[in-house]
């Protein structure tokens, strides 16, 4: 025993490094097939501790930006002819308001149409943070299980599919975007009804793989969710094909896809809350070895 302690004391530097590396490796190994309770608990604890600070920071930034904009506006008004500037600003703002209202109406109409089509219940959540690395594409929401958000619920925007909920705490949730390299969504080419798998393309949009070699796929084709797998309802717009690759000798053809939603400018997300979610059944994650 004393020999072991002496050895540990002597090689403590190597022992600590090895322990840290082995523990990290073990944690990753535990998640290869499915997440264990230890990993889920650690993830949720970390998110639960940090997310309030993130929310406060996001709210503060929004507030400061608003105040700063008001200040800049005020200075501009003083520098210009006050009455004319006021009138111009008022009219401009009125026009912007009307444009915003028109856009809002369009957005709500599309949302209503989508809602009627899918008979679904929606919950709106604000995006407060982005993924902490450049390797993965996730966003943090300001709502969690207290408001009814559950794991694997689909996340949408008025223009189409955003991704799915992968992690939930009481007051926050994490959404995996469809451009995340480990995301996978069953897709269907709207025009020809050919199915494929839409997955993230490491920093460059998304790609559609496993398209049959002889299938008719063309640039500009719309891709919608196929509904297979039980996570995403059928018929939600995912994006449009931007290029098709047919490599000689390959069994399938691949295509790159431009998501319908601008995922870099997400502010609000709609979570579909009343779907029958079957965890572990094609959970929207790419196949792992």
């Amino acid at each position: 025993m004393s020999l072991l302690l002496r050895l540990l004391a002597r090689y403590r530097r190597a022992a600590i490094l090895t322990s840290a590396l082995v523990l990290s490796f073990l944690l990753m190994t535990l998640q290869v097939r499915h997440e264990t309770a230890v990993v889920t608990f650690t993830r949720q604890t970390l998110l639960f501790v940090v997310s309030p600070f993130i929310k406060v920071t996001a709210a503060t930034i929004q507030g400061v930006t608003g105040v700063w904009r008001d200040y800049v506006d005020l200075r501009a008004v003083r520098e210009e002819n006050r009455r004319l500037q006021f009138e111009a600003t008022t009219m401009k703002r009125r026009l912007e308001q009307l444009q915003n209202q028109a856009m809002e109406t369009q957005r709500l109409e599309r949302l209503l149409a989508m809602r009627q089509a899918s008979q679904a219940e929606f919950l709106t959540a604000r995006v407060v943070g982005k993924d902490a690395t450049n390797w993965f594409k996730t966003v943090l929401l300001d709502r969690g299980s207290l408001e009814g958000i559950r794991r694997n619920q689909p996340a949408l925007a008025p223009d189409g599919l955003v991704g799915r909920v992968v992690e939930v705490t009481l007051t926050s949730a994490k959404v995996q975007l469809l451009t995340d390299p480990v995301s996978a969504v069953g897709g269907l080419i709207q025009r020809t009804r050919v199915t494929g798998i839409v997955s993230g393309n490491l920093g460059a949009g998304a790609r559609v793989s496993y398209l049959p070699l002889m299938a008719d796929v063309a640039v500009g084709d719309e891709v919608v969710t196929s509904g297979m797998g039980g996570v995403f309802p059928k018929g939600i717009l995912i994006g449009r094909i931007t290029s098709v690759e047919r490599n000689s000798g390959a069994l399938f053809q691949e295509a790159t896809l431009q998501p319908a939603v601008d995922l870099s400018r997400l502010e609000e997300i709609f979570i579909l809350t009343n779907l029958d979610i079957r965890e572990g059944f094609e959970s929207g994650t790419a196949s792992r070895p």
């Binding site: 490094l17 600070f53 490491l202």
Partner: protein, 160 residues
């Protein structure tokens, strides 16, 4: 070490919220990696390894990747940075930039290796061009700015 927890919290908030508008082609500097580099300068390799592990774990918690991915990378880099601490000390900004660039690129390479091992093969060239190289450049530039800002300020005060 008293500033470790506030620093970690700041990095978490900055990385997820503040750096969004500063991203270039969707790439943001890795502040967690800079924190590992900074804390490793003032402590022994054992402590640097543990702090690197904690920093990486926090980053993994706020990311969509597997838990342990950055904990592995950051504990290894923390150890190496602390071990080579006195060799890495330099007054030359260009040398510092290269050290940061090398460290960040090495971190990217290790991450890619681990991702390939656990989640299946990744294409090397796209990963290199779209993530590793731009992230390393951006991180090194921001790191250089952070490390040299106090020196620039001191030089300005002296000259005034």
């Amino acid at each position: 070490m008293t500033w470790f927890l506030p620093g970690l919290l700041f990095c978490a908030m900055a990385q997820t919220v503040l750096l969004g508008p500063l991203s270039v082609w969707g790439i943001r500097p890795d502040l967690f990696l800079l924190l590992v580099f900074l804390v490793s300068q003032g402590c022994n390799p054992e402590v640097a390894t543990l702090l690197g592990f904690l920093i990486g774990l926090c980053q993994d918690g706020l990311s969509g990747g597997p838990l342990g991915l950055h904990a592995f990378t950051d504990s290894l880099l923390g150890f190496l940075a602390a071990r080579l601490g006195h060799h890495m000390y330099t007054d030359k900004p260009l040398a510092l930039f290269w050290i940061l660039l090398g460290g960040s690129a090495a971190a990217g390479g290790i991450t890619l290796g681990l991702l390939t091992f656990f989640l299946g093969p990744r294409l090397l060239l796209p990963a290199l061009l779209r993530v590793i190289a731009p992230e390393a450049l951006y991180t090194a530039a921001v790191g250089l700015l952070i490390l040299w800002l106090p020196r620039i300020r001191a030089a300005l005060i002296r000259s005034a």
